[in-house]
């Protein structure tokens, strides 16, 4: 679905940050920011604290328990083999496998979770407000439902190079 959006075009990320803070304070609905490079201040201001690390920890704990169960089942219950006189259940030999399985499964699940949450998949077409948006300008995309005239005024005041109105799909 395409809606009309207000887009502020900025030359400088510091100006954008200033405009961002002002708009946020006044309750404007900021949809997204596009830029040619990552800016930590912007990212911190815009994005809420990611909960993905906590979920990764849960994945890791689950994987350790699952992998331990798997190793125990294969090495002790289902197919016990005597390796150089060691007991069937010998934890040191499991550590490396547990470690690697945990990294593999946690990494994979985290990627899948991330892609699912952000609704991305390989080959997805990028949603760009403007073909230039990744080249040399910063784009601040706003919902126009909340007094658009004020938003345009504020954008201009805080140093936006240009203010566009465009129908984009979000």
């Amino acid at each position: 679905m395409s809606y009309k959006h207000i887009i502020g075009v900025f030359d400088d990320e510091a100006l954008l940050l200033k405009a961002f803070r002002k708009l946020k304070k006044n309750g404007a609905n900021i949809k997204d920011i596009y830029g040619p490079f990552a800016d930590h201040d912007l990212m911190k201001a815009f994005a809420p604290e990611s909960r993905l690390p906590y979920l990764s920890f849960v994945f890791a704990v689950m994987t350790i328990i699952g992998a331990f169960g798997f190793l125990y089942y294969t090495a002790v219950i289902d197919y016990p083999l005597n390796y150089s006189g060691k007991p069937y259940f010998s934890f040191p030999s499991m550590v490396v496998v547990l470690f690697l399985l945990t990294i593999l499964v946690t990494g994979g699940l985290s990627v899948v979770t991330f892609l699912g949450r952000t609704q991305l998949f390989p080959g997805k077409e990028a949603k760009m407000p403007d073909p230039q948006a990744m080249d040399n300008r910063f784009y601040l995309v706003l919902d126009q439902n909340f007094n658009p005239e004020d938003i345009k005024k504020w954008l201009k005041e805080s140093g936006a190079e240009d203010v566009l109105e465009k129908e984009i799909d979000f």
């Binding site: 690390p53 920890f57 150089s84 040191p92 030999s93 550590v95 490396v96």
Partner: protein
């Protein structure tokens, strides 16, 4: 920012008292059980030497990687390295106790022990002392060079001192990687002269930085409480926590690799080392070592939110001081003294050494400005943020 730290009178008195306790422990130790005392002297030498070398390696790494975040408090690792000359004297004094610690140093052992006889071209007392002198000469002279250029930079703003420091850092890391690994092999691994692990020297060398970072954290927050380093912020604490976290993983990895290969291969000469530790009476220390040095720091510092809290950092660092002691106790005692004994000699000697270490480090800190004045990355360090 111009402040210079001066240790207060009460600290001087406290360290003097600690030193007195240490001397009392030496006297009591030598009258009751010389062998146990010698082993403890070696343990404490290694304890504080590990921190000194690790701190200077940390300092050098900051130059090699051109890190800016640590420029503000780089005098702290430099001061921790000031213990080296004292450590050298204390280590050379071990000459008189070598047969009590090392089996290969006992007279006439080569006649009964073929393996030691085979290794005797390397493991003999004169060559051992020569190597010790070489190691210390290199470390002390390079440590002196690092300090000289850092202090000179204070007097005259010139990028050439930064470049000189950077050059000597590279030399120091090169030298200490090779010679501290060799020193660990010489001074600890040869206690069990029949046993060897190719990972041993490397493990001790790398993990020395772990404990050095812990001491840097403690000293930094001690000075911060006294009103210095007011610019210390969340980002610095975050980076220190990350340092400790990464090193906890490295510790766990190397510790386990050394164990796993010997456990799996099950070769009698090699498992002889792990038998008393893994299933024998030293088992408690064996598990305590890995829990304290790896499991607790790893779990506590996993989240940046928790790890960068000042209280957590200090608690983990204090835990690591205990961890280093247990780690060295487990490496030195079973082969040299052979019994688990924990009493006044152990505690008193450690307290004495700690007193000496603290006063030397604080005196060294007070000899120059606490924050380097003309370091090119100082501004960046003060305004460090994530």
């Amino acid at each position: 920012m111009e402040a210079t730290y001066k240790p207060s009178q009460s600290i001087k008195i406290a360290t003097a008292l600690m030193l007195a306790v240490g001397i009392a422990a030496v006297v009591v130790g030598f009258t009751t059980d010389p062998s146990r005392t010698w082993a403890n002297l070696l343990l404490n030498n290694m304890f504080f030497l590990t921190i000194s070398i690790g701190a200077l390696m940390f300092y050098s790494l900051q130059y090699i990687t051109q890190s800016s975040w640590s420029a503000m408090f780089q005098r702290i690792p430099l001061a921790l390295g000031a213990f080296l000359p004292v450590a050298a004297i204390l280590m050379l004094l071990l000459y008189f106790g070598l047969p009590d610690i090392y089996k290969w140093a006992q007279p006439n052992i080569t006649e009964t022990d073929k393996l030691i006889a085979h290794k005797s071209p390397f493991l003999n007392v004169p060559f051992y002392m020569i190597r010790m002198v070489v190691y210390f000469t290199l470390w002390i002279s390079l440590g002196y060079a690092l300090r000289k250029f850092s202090v000179k930079e204070d007097q005259k703003a010139d990028i050439k001192y930064y470049k000189k420091s950077s050059f000597f850092s590279k030399v120091f890391v090169f030298i200490s990687v090779i010679f501290f690994s060799l020193a660990a092999i010489d001074w600890i691994m040869t206690i069990d002269a029949h046993w060897y692990s190719t990972l041993f020297g490397f493990r001790v060398m790398v993990t020395s930085m772990y404990y050095a970072v812990a001491l840097i954290v403690l000293l930094l927050f001690f000075l911060n409480d006294k009103g210095y380093f007011t610019q210390l912020n969340k980002a610095h604490r975050n980076d220190l926590a990350r340092y400790l976290f990464r090193f906890s993983i490295i510790f766990g990895y190397l510790w386990f690799m050394q164990f796993l290969i010997i456990w799996y291969a099950d070769i009698p000469e090699l498992t002889a080392y792990y038998y008393p530790r893994f299933v024998g009476e030293w088992q408690g220390f064996f598990y305590a070592e890995i829990v304290i040095n790896f499991a607790i720091p790893f779990l506590a510092l996993m989240s940046d939110e928790i790890g960068r809290k000042k209280e957590v950092l200090i608690a983990i660092s204090l835990l690591l001081v205990v961890g280093l002691w247990i780690s060295l106790f487990l490496q030195i005692m079973p082969g040299s003294y052979g019994e688990i004994r924990f009493g006044f000699v152990e505690v008193g000697l450690w307290i004495g050494y700690a007193g000496l270490f603290v006063i030397i480090v604080l005196e060294s800190l007070s000899r120059s400005a606490l924050i380097p004045k003309n370091h090119p990355m100082l501004e960046e360090s003060v305004h460090h943020h994530l």
